[in-house]
Amino acid sequence: MPVIMDAQGLARTLRRLSHEIEERNEGFENVALVGVKRGGEVVARRLAALISGSGRGEVPCAGLDITMARDDLVSAFILPDAERNEPGFSLDNKTVVLCDDVLHTGRSAVAGIEAIFRLGRPAKIQLLVLVDRGGRELPVRADYVGKNVPTAREEYIEVRFTELGQGADSLTVIRR
């Protein structure tokens, strides 16, 4: 079970990603962080805290429930267990950085974009992921990638965050 990132590695990666966001957007003005629940929300909140803590700016941050935007809601007749999205700030004309833990098929990212559109009309949407494990089924590309980890189909990436009561932070490749 190869560990991709431990707590320290994660902290370093987040720090780098925060700088990449700052660089690409020439600061944090007009940037908002929106994290796909629940892992992506942790990523977004950590980034916001990092940016704020280092005195670089205050970035609005929110979690995003993408259940209602899932593309398989009807085809798989999924009974949605969703929470209403209420970010607490306007997404209109913002540069929204959509955060997620792992990018795989791209379906979650598309659902995230769909869910964002239901909340407003941002000027830009950028995609940030901790790990890109490949295996895309949709034409989706991340703007910020913590680490590229090509994986096989039968593998998956187990993400643990302390905030979610899952013990110490870690990202691990698991073979099914």
Partner: protein, 306 residues
């Protein structure tokens, strides 16, 4: 998964099917509570409400449930349909079927009419109340409301008081509640108590107090003025005095026992205003449960096709 093409009554449904509808209903209610009312599951499907009897409340509830799930909804009121020109139910059903309706929600003054329709059409038929037979969605919404307030319906004591003879609601509740292990007591004037109801699992009581004794839930059923004209009791006033549920009667129930009523309520007849508006009343809550449980029914009926 429902085993039936149609929802005609709780007499036909198994405990498992009822439980599944309630479970899905709970999820639907959680969404509705958050004001999430745009589900895609019935997109591209048609739901027709075919009402041979007026009921704004029930029709509206079904219509919203269908619309929240993305269905096309057509409402047919008997007064404006070809029914008055004498078209039979079977012919109307064939026409609705030919129009590719997926679900027909029917309210009819005659018992068994939804069954006749269901035998005729390919569409799913949902009984929204047929004569004195059944009103399954009403009973399910009552049960959903109970389930939200109690850990389980098993062993729950439910007292039903009012016009039981003419009440499809009482019967559907009786069938559903007893299947899930609840105990049902009933009380009504003898003129409004149907023959053999005791053999269907209800404990028929000889007084209000006996019926309500130890109850977790007290349900009033509407008394219609026309029953007075039919000689079933002398006056609404006398009904309220000897058969209505008031605060003194509620003292026999468990502390905090819930008050339910399928509506519309005659204030001061079936229940006193203090009970209707009191802390333990869940009468308004029942309305939201109604939409949730109807969404659950529509969801589960169409799910089998996936």
């Amino acid at each position: 998964m429902l085993k039936h093409k149609d929802i005609l009554g709780l007499y036909d449904l198994s405990a498992e099917e009822i439980d599944e509808i309630l479970t899905v209903g709970m999820s639907m209610k959680k969404l509705l509570r958050q004001n999430i009312k745009k589900l895609p599951h019935l997109q591209g499907k048609s739901v027709t409400t075919l009402f041979y009897e007026n009921s704004t409340r029930t029709r509206c509830s079904f219509e919203l449930a269908a619309k929240y799930m993305g269905a096309h909804v057509v409402n047919i009121a008997a007064a404006t349909s070809s029914v008055q020109k004498g078209e039979t139910l079977v012919d109307t059903g064939k026409t609705l079927d030919a129009m590719k309706n997926d679900i027909i929600v029917i309210r009819h003054p005659m018992g068994g009419a939804p069954r006749l329709l269901a035998q005729t059409v390919r569409a799913h038929v949902v009984n929204a109340g047929d004569g004195m037979n059944e009103h399954p969605s009403q009973a399910l919404l009552d049960m959903l409301t109970m389930r939200e307030n109690f850990p389980t319906l098993e062993g729950l004591r439910v007292a039903i008081l009012g016009d039981i003879s003419h009440s499809r609601v009482a019967k559907s509740n009786l069938f559903g509640l007893t299947k899930l292990g609840a105990h049902v007591t009933m009380f009504a004037p003898r003129t409004l108590l149907p023959t053999g109801i005791d053999k269907m699992g209800a404990k028929v009581c000889r007084s209000r107090e006996e019926a309500v004794e130890g109850a977790d839930v007290v349900m009033g059923l509407r008394i219609q003025l026309e029953r007075q004209h039919a000689g079933n009791f002398p006056s609404l006033g006398e009904y309220a005095k000897y058969y209505g549920v008031n605060e003194d009667v509620m003292k026999y129930a468990k502390p905090g026992a819930l008050v339910l009523h399928p509506g519309p309520v005659n204030r001061g007849v079936e229940l006193t205003s203090a009970l209707i508006d009191g802390d333990t009343s869940r009468i308004e809550e029942q309305v939201l449960s109604g939409i949730a449980v109807r969404m659950a029914i529509l969801f589960l009926l169409t799910k089998e096709e996936v």
